[in-house]
């Protein structure tokens, strides 16, 4: 049966060239998130695919986005942030180490349609390493109304390109188009900080001096992450390696 199939394949190949040749998918390239624990858990952001991070407010979505942007811009990737609700805080982003010279920030004035058009333009321009669509403050009912064809269009546009799309939202909305979905829950840790660390002096001595802080470790300790993969990262680089694995 197998031999017959092979013969058919050779016959087709001789008649139609490479059109019927089984193509081996190249191994999926990834872009680091900048957080070692998340990288170990997920393998990084897949390039040429959509990654979705969703969770309620204060679950760490923006912290993770800052970390990814800082890592990407530090590694000379050109990034774009499509900010639907104009919530990007440059002061906090600068503290996270983001290089603003490599970041294109587009504020869409609370208009979902403009945000999707802007994302489409960016993806078609090419050359961006990371494109972020921040829908973190878009109401869940509005996010659910986004037609699926937009997501398919994005996925199709960046296929076989080194661009990675990151979608931040309150509820999962990319449906089956995301190659990697991260669900976050929990809140950042409140930690004690001295007056020198916070760089301000409290008005009352009795008032607790603390700010919400997050560190590389406690993001995972205090925020739980559920990972869902639509397209698993293959450890086998080609078909032969896969067959050798099966035989062993």
């Amino acid at each position: 049966m197998n031999l017959k199939h092979r013969l058919n394949e050779f016959d087709l190949a001789s008649r139609f060239g490479d059109a019927f040749k089984i193509r081996q998918k190249p191994p999926l390239e990834t872009l680091s998130t900048g957080i070692r624990e998340v990288d170990e858990l997920t393998g990084g952001l897949p390039r040429g695919a959509i990654t979705e991070i969703f969770g309620p407010a204060s679950s760490g979505r923006t912290s993770m986005m800052f970390s990814m942007l800082a890592y990407a811009t530090r590694h000379e990737e050109v990034c774009a942030l499509v900010d639907i609700n104009d919530v990007f805080a440059p002061t906090a982003a600068a503290a996270a180490g983001i290089d603003f010279d490599r970041l294109l920030w587009i504020r869409c004035g609370d208009t979902l349609e403009n945000a999707f058009k802007a994302t489409d333009l960016l993806l078609h321009a090419g050359g961006f390493g990371l494109v972020i669509l921040d829908m973190g403050d878009v109401a869940a009912k509005d996010a659910r109304r986004i037609i699926t064809s937009w997501w398919y269009r994005f996925r199709r546009t960046i296929e076989n390109r080194p661009t990675s799309i990151l979608v931040l939202s309150e509820e999962a909305c990319t449906r089956s188009c995301a190659a990697l979905t991260l669900e976050l829950s929990g809140t950042p840790e409140w930690s004690q900080a001295s007056a020198e660390q916070t760089n301000v002096v409290p008005l009352r001595k009795s008032a607790p001096v603390k700010r919400a802080t997050v560190t590389q470790g406690n993001l995972l300790r205090f925020n739980s992450i559920k990972v869902n993969r639509q397209r698993p990262l293959s450890p086998w680089r080609n078909e032969d390696q896969f067959r050798a694995h099966l035989a062993s």
Partner: protein, 444 residues
Amino acid sequence: MFACIHAPNLAADLSLAEFAYGFSPVVEEVAGRTVVIDVEGCELLFGSAYELANDVARRAKEPRANGGLEGSVNVAIAANPDAAIHAATRLKGVTFVSPAEELICLGEFPIEALEFSLVNVEKKLAGEIFETLRLWGILTFQDFAALPVAGVSERLGQEGIRLQQLAAGKTERHLKVKQPAPVFSHSIELDHALYELEPLSFIFARLLNQLCATLNAYALATNELTLHMQLEDQTSHDRTLSLPHPMRDHKVFLKLLVLEMEKQPPQAAVKAVSITCDPVKPRVIQNGLFVPLAPAPDKLELTLARLTKLVGDQNVGSPVLLDTHRPDAFSVKRFELRNLKFEIRNSKLTVGFRMFRPPLRAVVQVDRGLPAQISAWGKQRSVYGKVVDVAGPWRTTGDWWRDDRWARDEWDVAVVPNKRDEQVLYRIYRELNTDTWFVEGAYD
């Protein structure tokens, strides 16, 4: 045949080359007061070469208003340009040097009158050769031309041979045609005024095609395009496109111009269009093998123009922090990928913050000096719930000498919204001047 025009008394503000273009398009400017023109094929317009020479001399005497030079000129016609130059510079009036009889006309000229620069001989070497010839008793063109070529070659070298051919009027060369200065501006006047952008874009395309062809011919590019339109209401509409990198792709220019016009259309119908560009050297770069890809400059420029049209000028760019302690102080600069420097930056995992713009006005119940309950509503979001944890206050003030000074107490609060279990961390503040509470944003 070639005609040389020599104007010894030419006024400083007149151009002999411009005058010569009236007779032939093939003009070589030998010096400021001498030009050579190719008169081959001008018979139908001016008659024979001799008639053309007389015509040149006559029109040169006409006033400048009629295209003349307001003075007499020497004109010489010869079979080669160098013989014509020698005849025109030494002989007054109109001279006709018959082909193969150059020495009859030029033979009596002194040897020092040879224009050695015409045959690429250096001044010092030419002086030495003239001195040698004088010592030999060779004083005129005719004497020099009569010398045996082999002997001249042995004693004076190749430069001597070239000078001898020049003296004999036997040199052969093409004219070094004076190229008109390139024009990087094209304009068109319309028979009927145009009201719509679509037909106007065809006019832009035509002008940009011509402009880019000129740039291409001179291996140049441009980083600034200026569009000038004359409108029907006697006003003008000017737009300037500044490009981050020199380009010369007419398709990109057309798209950028159309996007610019869509953004800021003219107030009336367009009567005339003119496009000018600033020519610069094209960009030459070589990317490293290990440098990550970046958007192509022309595509990026188009994308930025489209994004600007979609969301507005001030909403597209790179954020820049301002040198102030004022909360949320930033500006947005144009996104450019040139002169990027690689800096080693320390990144640390910090808590993310989502800024509410504008801040939500809030009603806060205070219990023993600490926020206890908060409610705030906005167009897009609302904050409502019991405060379960609080930190602060931190007082910040600044710019007290200005009208837009700020003074406020900041608090970080953990709020449990109704019907939900998760805490949400907000930054709230109380404005000290107005004693009003606001929600500035949420930690995320």
